[in-house]
Amino acid sequence: MLEIILNRIPIIYLFSSSMLIIPLIIGIINIKAIMSTPLKIIFFYCCIYICFESVSWYYALHGWQNHFVENTVNYSDVIILGCFYVYILTNPLHKKIVIGIIIIAVITLIISNVFGIKDYNRIDSFAKSFTDVIIIFLSLIFFYQLLNTLEIRNLFQYSYFWISTSLLIYFSGIFFINIFAEYITFNKDESIKFYWHIKEYLTIFHRIFIAIGLWFSTTHQQLNPSSK
């Protein structure tokens, strides 16, 4: 089995998957500090991802199609990350908008899966791109809120800033890869490999940033005097 893994699978894939352990370990170390619901949600998100990755690897190593995992991940991304933003956004109108977006996104994903691809074991690229756009939009709402309130004195010690940065960079990166992959498919395989490698690097950064976010869950957030 190990021989198959090392011979057939690029090391970067293994590495990016194993990076999920970092936020998980930090989450377990800081488990007592992760008292706020949003951080609990992010920790849960990491745990769910471990399950997805395990199933995905298991299927891949047995030579079975694992695309259904990718399609399922879309639902978890929209619902879990959507709930995270519902909790961290303070403006009631923004909260309502996010709840509405989650409901619409889930319905759209179901419609796309049922009527679009029909076969759940095929990658639904529309659903994937749609999910990416939703998460990008949610993170942008959060950044807008941050810039408007200027509540946090030190952004670099603020958990939600790291987590939102991670989500914005990762999902926009994936979104552009998906878009450009459409063009590249008709060209060289090398280019596809190049973009898939970038995707793996993005995944590594995504997990490291989430780990940093969970790490700062123990740091007391200093608020600006005007916001007290």
């Binding site: 200027l150 970038i198 993005l202 600006n224």
Partner: protein, 258 residues
């Protein structure tokens, strides 16, 4: 579109969010700095206003003491001097002398009473000897007796004395607020409550008067009463909350860390 162009475009597109985050951080800290500067400016203005109010209040007190000394003590002492000079004139008339001596004694007693009253106003002896609770009780009783307005005081389970600076500041604040309620608000009931919660001494003053517009009162050309209270409270690191509006009674809550 050729391959190289797509790769360049794709990479640029992926770098876009990273650049956006960097720009966001720069913008955030810039706005934060501007906001801090603005806040510091407001605080500086406020400090200056407090200082001006404090100086003006001291000047008022000096003017009042000067007026009291001149009008009351000065007049009485002049009368005493004249009375004494009359005594020397009527040295051979014992009944007239006796009469003048009694008159002089009365004048001196009155002067002495006035000196006591002025010194009591400057530093109430009850506050010094028995503490804030007794002093406020005494003050509210006297106000009720002299003005006919019901000035009530309650203090829950509080006992003993507090830091003298806190006691004096709260006593003066209570005096100022009660005087304001009597002079400007046409109140008929004034309630004072002293309590302690979360290691804070809280004084609440409320009345059933006609209220006032806080913004109007805070205008630079208006009285210094409210600013003076704020200045007093800020010295002892306390906070004051105003619940005021024109047309209804006013309520103030002063909390001071113990």
């Amino acid at each position: 579109m050729n391959e190289v162009k797509i790769i360049i475009l794709g990479t640029a597109a992926m770098l876009l969010p990273t650049s956006a985050i960097i720009i966001f951080v720069i913008l955030y800290y810039r706005r934060q700095r501007l906001q801090r500067e603005k806040l510091e400016h407001i605080e500086e203005l406020h400090r200056q206003e407090m200082l001006e109010a404090s100086v003006a209040s001291q000047e008022n007190v000096r003017r009042q003491i000067g007026g009291d000394l001149h009008d009351e003590i000065g007049t009485l002492l002049s009368a005493t001097r004249m009375s004494l000079s009359q005594i020397t004139k009527y040295g051979d008339n014992p009944s007239k002398r006796e009469n003048l001596l009694n008159q002089t004694q009365d004048l001196l007693n009155e002067a002495l009473n006035n000196v006591r009253r002025i010194s009591k106003e400057l530093m109430p002896s009850t506050l010094d000897e028995f503490g804030l609770i007794i002093a406020l009780k005494d003050f509210t009783q006297k106000m009720t007796e002299h003005t006919g307005v019901m000035v009530c005081f309650s203090h829950g389970e509080l006992v003993g004395k507090f830091d003298s600076k806190i006691e004096l500041a709260l006593y003066r604040t209570a005096q100022e607020l009660v005087n304001n309620a009597l002079k400007h608000a046409q109140a008929t009931i004034i309630n004072l409550t002293l309590s302690e919660s979360n290691n804070q001494l809280v004084l609440q003053v409320s009345d059933n008067g006609i209220g006032f517009d806080l913004e109007e009162v805070n205008q630079p050309n208006r009285g210094i009463g409210i600013k003076n209270i704020e200045s007093r409270i800020s010295v002892i690191k306390g906070h004051i909350k105003f619940d005021v509006e024109k047309g209804r009674g006013a309520s103030f809550e002063i909390s001071v860390p113990l």
